[in-house]
């Protein structure tokens, strides 16, 4: 059966509402879930994601002088807590107040993970991050102007020599997968972020079974 996509993508409020409903379903499970996958497969998927992120962030961690990281769209906070467990100082932001509250409740006692309710396009703390990661979030922002504002805002939070890691597919053209997932072409990321002082270092695929998404890695060089 061929599905014809709705010609009008949901706006950001609809996307947020959909994710709030989704978070209620996965409140106590993993941060990222391949909806087409099986339970144990998703456990493995999350472990693999953390491994890939470590390869991109580096394995140097000094608890006395931690890297400051942002997990943009942290959901249940699984990635945030995992990053904090390596000695980093990790902030998690999400537009869903309920998951942010749950994240705080499950937060580490050493304060290495902190959470705030915010959309990606408006988060603006008084400090910069060594790296900003956003795992399977920006491709769920269907409204193009909000996607663009989100990517630009996240980039603005990265310090010199820092890294911006955004997951999506690596495509030559934009592709709308369904009513809640839309991949943007690599060129759109590259052009948008070049103007912000970033260079595209590489695309690191998840290499997880049938999942062809991965991490676009950008470094601030200016």
């Amino acid at each position: 059966m061929t599905m014809t996509p709705d010609p009008r993508p949901p706006d950001i409020e609809q996307s947020i509402a959909a994710w709030e409903r989704r978070h209620i379903d996965v409140a106590d499970s993993l941060d990222t879930e391949d909806l087409a996958g099986d339970t144990m497969g998703n456990v493995a998927f999350n472990a693999l994601l953390i491994g890939r992120l470590l390869a991109l962030l580096g394995t140097f961690a000094e608890p006395a002088a931690p890297l400051r990281l942002l997990d943009a769209g942290c959901g249940t906070g699984w990635v945030t807590r995992a990053l904090a467990s390596f000695g980093h100082q990790a902030d998690g932001i999400d537009s869903d107040e309920a998951v942010v509250t749950a994240c705080r409740r499950r937060g580490r006692s050493d304060g290495r993970d902190r959470y705030a309710r915010s959309q990606l396009d408006v988060w603006a703390p008084s400090y910069l991050y060594d790296a900003v990661v956003s795992v399977d979030v920006v491709s769920h922002i269907m409204e193009d102007s909000v996607w663009e504002a989100s990517v630009v805002n996240l980039a603005s939070l990265v310090r010199s020599g820092g890294r911006l890691i955004l997951s999506d597919h690596d495509l030559a053209q934009d592709h709308r997968w369904n009513s809640s997932v839309m991949s943007r072409a690599r060129r759109r990321y590259v052009d948008l972020l070049a103007a912000e002082g970033f260079v595209h270092r590489r695309f690191m695929p998840y290499d997880f079974r049938y999942n062809t998404a991965g991490f676009h890695v950008f470094d601030r060089i200016a």
């Binding site: 580096g58 002088a65 008084s126 790296a131 310090r159 010199s160 890695v217 470094d219």
Partner: protein
């Protein structure tokens, strides 16, 4: 970061490592890298070489840095100090005197005592700091005036915001400390009241016990009296006492031997 990792990161492709005042575990240094331990017989470091120096953080710090290093040589300065206690001004002044520019700074993770590593390169120009995240990706330029401009901007704005944030955190810590003091005082007062209460409870227990004993004695006495009252002897004696009393009354009324009132 391990010292060997710092050496590998900063020694030039054809460079040698010179160690001064610090014993480097040369078995940990990649094969092929020339090593000089406290030995200047080869003429000292040249461009591309790495000089590993351990120095105190006191006033003598400057004396441990060569002021005539050739351009392109790099110094790995090991400072035995807690990161939070790093004398930033003194270190920067010593590096400036030797025309060295910081390209990396980190905590050493394999030193027996807390140690901060400052890596600085001898340069007459301005160089960008070394990448500090995973850096084995595709190479890309991070040099040039744009990155320096950005760095200066970050320094100015973050430094300003940092002061305010630090002030806010200190105020927050002060509030928490004050609350802690107040709670501690209240807790102490409650503990004192509790101690008094415990003493009273203890006294009450003793008194209750004494009372129970007294009651038991009283009951035993009553019982004994009951036995005595119900005895034939007591009844006879009581009757005699009553008769004796009547007799005394009769005698009294007849005026014989009684006191006159």
């Amino acid at each position: 970061m391990l010292i060997r990792e710092l050496i590998v990161r900063h020694v030039g492709p054809e460079g040698a490592v010179h160690a001064r005042g610090v014993q480097v575990d040369w078995s940990q240094v990649p094969a092929g890298v020339q090593a000089h331990q406290d030995d200047n017989s080869d003429g000292g470091p040249v461009a591309g070489d790495l000089l590993v120096v351990s120095a105190p953080t006191g006033l003598g710090l400057r004396e441990h840095l060569d002021i005539d290093l050739p351009v392109g040589a790099t110094v790995l300065l090991l400072l035995e100090v807690e990161l939070a206690e790093l004398p930033v001004g003194r270190v920067l002044a010593a590096l400036a005197m030797a025309k060295l520019q910081v390209v990396e700074a980190c905590v050493v993770s394999d030193a027996p005592a807390p140690t901060v590593a400052v890596v600085a390169t001898r340069t007459d120009d301005v160089v960008a700091p070394a990448p500090y995240l995973a850096h084995d990706l595709e190479p890309g330029s991070s040099q040039g005036p744009a990155v320096i401009r950005r760095l200066l901007g970050e320094h100015a704005l973050e430094g300003l915001a940092q002061r305010a944030r630090e002030r806010a955190l200190l105020a927050q810590a002060g509030d928490v400390e004050a609350r802690f003091e107040a709670v501690s005082t209240e807790l102490k007062q409650r503990q004192d009241v509790r101690a008094e209460y415990d003493i009273l409870v203890e006294e009450h227990k003793v008194m209750t016990s004494d009372l129970a004993l007294a009651r038991a004695e009283r009951d035993a006495e009553r019982k004994r009296m009951g036995v005595i009252r119900s005895s034939r002897t007591f009844r006879v004696a009581s009757r005699l006492a009553r008769v004796s009393g009547l007799a005394r009354g009769i005698v009294g009324r007849s005026g014989g031997g009684g006191k006159s009132s």
